[in-house]
Amino acid sequence: MAEVSKGIAEKWGLVVDQDRCTGCNACVVACSMENNVPFTGEDNVAFGRGTYWIYNKRMWEGTYPEVAPAFQPVMCQQCGSAPCEPVCPTFAAVHSEEEQINLQIYNRCIGTRYCANNCPYHARQFNFEDPNIPEPMNSYLNPDVTVRRRGVMEKCTFCVQRIVAGRQTASAEDRPLRDGEVTPACVAACPSDALVFGDLSDPNSRVSQMAQNERQYKLMDELGTRPKVTYLKGGGRNGG
């Protein structure tokens, strides 16, 4: 390929501003439509098998009348030291040296579900059955993303298909990727601009700037997973 190696690996990162996040769940649906995440039906959701690559963990803070929901959209944190990876017997969960994210290679996956147990964020989903999308609804399936069959794990990929497409477009035009050129579906959809995606290795990118915000924290930082997703705390009463 024509692209010249840049020397520094791109390190994709996501910032979730919880103060902007309204919990509207547009990201959930945008992700599902982009990544061919199947809908599973009422019974499956009731059973805990609704498949969401990103979902809002809404906990309650306070008691009535001071009660308020605490929204926390959680997707795969693309850990630098991911607990899911080493436990996979078949290298279906691996770390991408190029994109510095976690990959799930569906055709390599044999469905031990070990990775899912070991993910402290519960970001990994299992395909308990083949997707049931009646014709012609399968027409909207994104051909850039594999339709997962039953028995494999899946999870947020940071929309790696968009990353690869963006990188190839940039290389065909012989220029580096611009900040904000590649956005995952959730980021593109987010009505309140609570999600920001970009290259963390570029100190000038918007995501790098935001990740240094004083409100920043990482989910379960104490586990040493080195997530690529940074959360910005909600503002509280007096802003932040």
Binding site: M1, S5, E98, L103, I105, N107, Q161, V164, Q168
Partner: protein, 178 residues
Amino acid sequence: MKHKKPWWKQPGIQIGAVLVAFIVIGGIIGGIFLTQTPPEQPIAFPHNRHVGIGASCLYCHAGATLGPSAGLPGIEKCWGCHQQVQKQSPELTKLAGYVERNEPIPWVPVAIQPEFVRFKHSPHVNAGLQCSACHGDLAKMTVAEAQKGQNMGWCLQCHKSSAPEQWTKLSDCATCHY
């Protein structure tokens, strides 16, 4: 001790075993045979003749430089030439039939990517790779034939030998699988 034939020497069992073996082996051989023979095409398109008169691959498969799939020419493109040149041949009558009915030609795929592989033509073509490197010498084929042994090892071999300095990127799973 009575000398009875042991069970594995009983004729019924032997015949059964041979039959089962034949069906299994035949199935495997047949399956492999079918994957390794070029499929029957609606029109026996002579690649060799088109390449022979100097037609560029990209003339018909224009998508190769632009996007993932190289694309197949529509009936308009075929007919655009063939209403001028060489109008008579049994294969061209078939083409004329499709043009008349305004139907797409149901070409049968030759090189198939598994659904979990995202192969894109454009980066490969843009990197200066010749079509023949993967598709074989079309000047020697009539209908296109699938090339043997094009598995992931083959992809990687080429990635490694042609661009060792980009091996990190070109061996990354996310390059092809997502």
